[in-house]
């Protein structure tokens, strides 16, 4: 086993997840697509995959957190996802594990080729999982996502090529080869690589593919797409912004972040349906993360906290929506088809946290982002971001009266044990960040300087 323990822990996690995925796929027939087998085997795989990271004491702390968070997200959304299917349960679980493995590779590596492979794995997993939803709607979204993902992949590959030409290396942050002669090619390389990653983060103008998937994938998978890809790409972006010239990427990230916030806030106001509302909100949050990433070391620290809070809240929302399938969820249907007390409260808490309304940690995360923005990008951008942030509350809170009105009907919606456990776990994380935000901000100290 020496060769295995010699690997970086991110790779160990990816290998373990792949092995479990392969096991799930190979035994799919023998296990007769059992619901329990998918949840147990998949969950076990996610837990075991996180073990090497936990025992890797001296390694990059951000990578450890990223690995654990991705494994956790996969575990949380497994039961939510498998409620969808009758036939493809084990394949679905296997694909989730593979996607998480891709995310972990993306989050833990500093090698550009490894990053692009992780990105590709994650994108393909999301595309296939989305395509598994019922009806032609998810399939259509999946195809569009696939095409746009391929464009961004090609963009990133081209950027990596230029990077290799200018620096003679695949490591991010490698110095220029021949003095300053190749600077503009290097700039182009950095920009193209960044844009490839920003696709996964879902930032304007490369957000449309993700938007469609968030809207129309089965609920659990949409949750996975939002959380895992934001985690993976977000952490990768932390490394990229720390290693590469801030003068090149900084203004681009703040500009695109602000554009995303404004665009998604306005478009979100027009939504009358929970799934599209959440999809637009994911773009707005990606905007906040990009904005923070563009604002130096302090901004990166804020971005880590924002990322963690966002992932916990989105995981909470989507674990609460488990089993609602790929169909749209008009606000009124929350009253007529109530989710049951636990899941309703979970959804309320998740929405409040996403909206940045106390009680919810989203507000702390937003303040944390605005501060470096103020220092680096000036008052005007801060004003726009603050307005975008608070006006977002207008669409997040819109379904709340319906949701709460659904409570009084009191009938219990069926959700299986795994889904309920996922709700409780994600809810616990959100609660923790609400009451003791410094726990989350401790994570922010892990951000690369």
């Amino acid at each position: 086993m020496n060769w295995f323990t010699a690997l970086p822990h991110g790779l160990q996690a990816a290998a373990l997840l792949t092995a479990f995925a392969a096991a799930l796929l190979a035994t799919a027939g023998a296990l007769q697509h059992s619901r329990r087998a998918a949840a147990v085997l998949g969950g076990l795989g996610a837990v075991i995959a996180a073990l090497p990271a936990l025992s890797a004491g001296d390694a990059d702390a951000l990578a450890i957190v990223g690995t654990c968070a991705l494994a956790l997200v996969a575990m949380l959304l497994l039961p939510a996802a498998e409620l969808q299917f009758d036939e493809h349960r084990l394949e679905g679980a296997g694909l989730i594990l593979l996607g998480a493995a891709g995310g972990i590779v993306l989050a833990t590596s500093t090698h550009l080729l490894a990053m692009v492979l992780g990105l590709e794995t994650l994108s393909l997993a999301v595309a296939v999982l989305c395509g598994l939803g019922r009806g032609s709607r998810p399939l259509e979204a999946s195809f569009k996502f696939f095409v746009l993902a391929a464009v961004s992949l090609a963009t990133m590959v081209y950027g990596i090529g230029l990077h290799a030409y200018a620096t003679g290396s695949f490591e991010i942050g490698a110095p220029l080869l021949a003095g300053s002669a190749l600077r503009s090619i290097h700039t182009a390389a950095v920009v193209l690589i960044t844009l490839g990653l920003l696709f996964e983060l879902a930032v304007v103008p490369v957000h449309f593919g993700a938007l469609g998937v968030y809207m129309s994938a089965p609920a659990g998978f949409a949750g996975l797409a939002m959380t895992a890809s934001k985690l993976g790409a977000g952490i990768a972006m932390l490394r990229v912004t720390a290693a590469m010239d801030p003068a090149i990427i900084g203004p681009i990230l703040t500009g695109l972040g602000l554009g995303s916030i404004v665009w998604a806030t306005f478009a979100g106001l027009a939504q009358r349906e929970l799934r599209s509302m959440l999809a637009y909100s994911a773009i707005a949050h990606a905007g906040f993360i990009a904005l923070a990433l563009g604002c130096g070391a302090e901004g990166r620290a804020a971005a880590v906290f924002y990322l963690v809070v966002y992932v916990a809240s989105a995981a909470l929302v989507f674990s609460a929506l488990a089993g609602r399938g790929a169909e749209p969820i008009p606000f009124a249907s929350l009253r007529d088809r109530p989710l049951g007390t636990l899941r309703t409260m979970a959804l309320v808490a998740g929405l409040l946290s996403l909206a940045g309304v106390p009680p919810g940690p989203g507000l702390w995360a937003k303040i944390g982002v605005l501060l470096p923005v103020w220092r680096v990008a000036g008052p005007l951008l801060t004003l726009v971001a603050a307005l975008g942030g608070v006006f977002g509350a207008l669409y997040y809170l819109r379904p709340l009266p319906d949701l709460l009105a659904g409570l009084r009907r009191g009938e219990r919606a069926t959700a299986d044990l795994g889904a309920r456990a996922a709700v409780v776990l994600a809810g616990g994380a959100v609660l923790l960040f609400t009451v003791l935000p410094w726990v989350g901000t401790q994570l922010a100290t892990l951000a690369p300087r």
Binding site: P8, L11, A14, T18, A21, A22, L25, E87, H88, E91, G94, L95, L98, A101, G102, V105, S109, H111, L113, A114, L117, G118, E120, T121, L124, A125, A127, V128, G131, L132, R134, G135, S136, L139, L162, F170, L177, A178, A181, L182, R183, S184, I185, T187, A188
Partner: protein, 166 residues
Amino acid sequence: MQEQLPYLIAGCVVALLSAFGVVLSKQPVHGAVALLVHSLALAGLYLLLAAEFVAIGQVIIYSGAIVVLFLFVVLLLPQGGREGAPGSARVLAAALGGAGMFAALAFAIVGTRLPASGPAPAGGIQAIGHALFGSELVPFELTTLPMLLAIVGAVTIWRRQEQGGA
């Protein structure tokens, strides 16, 4: 490298012309054939750039597998996937997008004086082997992920569609 310039120019011209063929042909079959030519031209360029193994890989993987896969799938399409003439908005968008992208990339490339290349990498296939199992081992191993995913994904998508999930 300067002495290879005429061959490089020839290779580039063929690659570009066939790429135009891929983009402009209305019949996917014609497009696939153009793609075949394109990939062979690229293989030639790779040879000129002292990347023999990549050139071989290009011919075997690309021309041999991917393009043939395309051809195979084209046969499954109704009417061979023939499409009508694109509308003017679409042509305009394509021209704008393509020109914009080329302008941006060319702007970055033309803006610098490119240094002349040194000697070609020595060692041929052996050197690549060392790279694949040495410095680039991690990404090489990681190609497992997309490959496994591609297999599982394609099968799953196809089964979903067979079962009338739509």
